[in-house]
C-alpha cells in the first residue's frame, strides 16, 4: 500500500536493528515477532482512531456515508464516532466553520485529550471553500488549530475521506516516541490547548491565531505595492 500512496514509506526504526522487512517476515512465519516499542505503540494508535461525531454541514453527510455499509470506515478501526470530545482522538472538521461556530470548535479541540489529530475535510474547512466571501465564514479551520490532513473536495467522496484516513494512519506510524522529532503529544513545548476566540463587534477576536497560522507569502506582492 505504501507504494501506491504519495507519502514516502516511513523509515525503518533503528531499534529494529539492521534486519530487513523480508527477514522479519521470515521470522514471523516461524512465530517470532520482532518489533520496537514505537512500532507497536503507533500500530495500536493508528488502527483504532476514534473520530469525534462532529459534522458541520454537507461534508458531514459524506462522512456518515463513509461510516455506512458501502464504504465502511469500520475496516480502519474508526467506526466508533464518539459524541464526547473527551473520548475521541480525531476531529474531522467536515463542513463550513463559521465565525459563530469557531469558538466552539476550538473549545472542543481543547477538550480532546492528547494524542489528537485533526482532518480538515472539504474545501470549506480548508480555506472557506465556495463561501469564502462571507462575513460569517472562517476562512479555514487551520487559522486556529493545527490540521494534520487536508482533504479537498466539495464534498469529497467517502473514498477520499478513507484515503485521508489512510494517510493519517501512515503519518501516525511514522511518529517517534523520543528525541527531537518526537510526536507532538510527547513534547513538552508543543501546546495542546489553544486560545478560544471571542465574539467581537464586527468579527471574532482575534481573527486568526498567529502561533498556528500565518498568511502565506503573496507571490504578487511586488505588484501590490502602489
Amino acid at each position: 500500500m505504501s507504494e501506491n500512496s504519495s507519502t514516502p514509506a516511513p523509515a525503518p526504526f533503528p531499534a529494529a536493528g539492521n534486519i530487513s522487512d523480508a527477514e522479519r517476515e521470515e521470522l514471523r512465519r516461524h512465530g517470532i515477532l520482532l518489533t520496537s516499542l514505537e512500532e507497536l505503540y503507533n500500530w495500536g494508535r493508528s488502527n483504532s482512531i476514534w473520530p469525534l461525531q462532529f459534522g458541520l454541514a454537507c461534508c458531514a453527510i459524506e462522512m456518515i456515508a463513509a461510516a455506512t455499509a458501502r464504504f465502511d470506515i469500520a475496516r480502519f478501526g474508526a467506526e466508533i464516532f464518539r459524541p464526547s470530545p473527551r473520548q475521541a482522538d480525531l476531529m474531522i472538521v467536515s463542513g463550513t466553520v463559521t465565525k459563530k461556530m469557531a469558538p466552539q470548535v476550538v473549545r472542543l479541540w481543547n477538550q480532546m485529550p492528547e494524542p489528537k489529530y485533526c482532518i480538515a475535510m472539504g474545501a470549506c474547512a480548508i480555506s472557506g471553500g465556495p463561501f469564502k466571501q462571507g462575513y460569517n465564514v472562517l476562512k479555514g479551520i487551520d487559522r486556529f488549530i493545527p490540521v494534520d490532513i487536508y482533504i479537498p473536495g466539495c464534498p469529497p467522496r467517502p473514498e477520499a475521506l478513507l484515503n485521508g484516513l489512510i494517510q493519517l494512519q501512515e503519518k501516525i506510524r511514522a511518529e517517534r516516541i523520543a528525541g527531537a522529532n518526537a510526536a507532538k503529544h510527547l513534547r513538552a513545548d508543543a501546546p495542546s490547548e489553544f486560545p478560544v476566540p471571542e465574539y467581537g463587534e464586527h468579527d471574532i477576536v482575534p481573527s486568526c491565531n498567529p502561533a498556528v497560522w500565518n498568511p502565506p507569502a503573496n507571490p504578487r506582492a511586488d505588484k501590490l505595492k502602489s
Binding site: E201, D203, R220
Partner: protein, 243 residues
C-alpha cells in the same frame, strides 16, 4: 401559478376565487374597509406580474388582522417575510433648454443637469396565502422612513406566528426594528455583533490576506493593508510562509 405558459390545461386544482387575489381587487376591498389608511399599488413590471400593496405603518396591523380574518380573503398563512434595502439614490436628470445667444445669433441648445436626491428606505415584503381557500399570493410591503433613524415598523407576529423568526432575521441582517415583536433579538449573528450585514453599504471584515488575483476593491484593500504594514513596522515585511 404554473410556470410554463405552454402547458396543457390539464385537470388541476384551480384556485376557486382566483380573482380575489388580484391585487387591485384586494386594494379596493381594503380601501373600502380602511378609508383613512394610505394604501397604494406597487406595479411589478416584469413578466411575473405580481403586484404588491404598499401599506402605511400606522394601520398595518389592523389591515393584517382584516386580511387574515375576512371571510372572503382568509389569508391565514404568511409564507415569506423578506427584507430589502433600497439605498439613497442620486438621480441626475439632463434637460435640453434653449438659451439666447449673447452674440445675437439663433438660440443655442444647452444641456442642463439637475441633481435630485431620492432618500432610501428599508422594506419588509410579506407574501400571504390562504390555506383555507387555497389562493394567493397577496404581497404587502411596509417601508421605513429612512435607513438611519426611522427604522421602526409594526410587527405582524401577533397576526401570523410565522413572521416570528423571519422578522428577527430582518432585524439582524437589515436593522429594521419591529415594534410589538415578542422577542426581538438577533437570529443568525451573535448578540455582540454590531452591523447589519445584508445592507448594501456593509463592508465585510478584511481577512483576505492572500488573494491570488486581486482586483477592484480587494486590490485596493490589499494595497492599503500592505502600506499600513510597512508604515507600522518601518520595513519591507513579508509574512513568513508556514509549511
Amino acid at each position: 401559478m404554473s410556470d410554463a405558459p405552454n402547458s396543457e390545461k390539464a385537470v388541476a386544482v384551480v384556485p376557486t376565487s382566483l380573482s380575489v387575489t388580484d391585487a387591485t381587487q384586494v386594494l379596493a376591498r381594503l380601501q373600502a374597509r380602511f378609508p383613512d389608511a394610505k394604501i397604494s399599488l406597487v406595479q411589478n413590471p416584469g413578466p411575473a406580474a405580481e403586484h404588491s400593496l404598499l401599506l402605511d405603518s400606522t394601520f398595518a396591523r389592523e389591515i393584517a388582522f382584516f386580511l387574515r380574518d375576512d371571510p372572503e380573503l382568509q389569508l391565514d398563512y404568511c409564507s415569506n417575510v423578506s427584507g430589502v434595502d433600497w439605498p439613497d439614490k442620486e438621480i441626475v436628470e439632463t434637460k435640453k433648454i434653449s438659451v439666447p445667444d449673447p452674440a445675437g445669433g439663433p438660440d443655442k441648445i444647452v444641456e442642463e443637469k439637475t441633481k435630485r436626491f431620492e432618500p432610501g428606505y428599508l422594506e419588509a415584503v410579506y407574501h400571504l396565502f390562504s390555506m383555507a381557500k387555497k389562493h394567493g399570493p397577496v404581497v404587502i410591503r411596509l417601508r421605513t422612513g429612512n435607513r438611519s433613524d426611522q427604522v421602526t415598523l409594526p410587527s405582524l407576529t401577533p397576526v401570523w406566528r410565522s413572521c416570528d423568526f423571519q422578522e428577527r432575521e430582518i432585524f439582524d441582517l437589515y436593522g429594521i426594528k419591529f415594534e410589538g415583536h415578542p422577542d426581538l433579538r438577533r437570529l443568525l449573528m451573535w448578540p455582540e455583533f454590531k452591523d447589519h450585514p445584508m445592507r448594501k453599504d456593509y463592508v465585510a471584515p478584511d481577512d483576505f490576506e492572500w488573494e491570488p488575483t486581486p482586483h477592484d476593491q480587494v486590490l485596493a484593500r490589499a494595497k492599503a493593508r500592505i502600506a499600513a504594514n510597512d508604515a507600522a513596522s518601518g520595513a519591507n515585511v513579508q509574512p513568513e510562509a508556514k509549511s
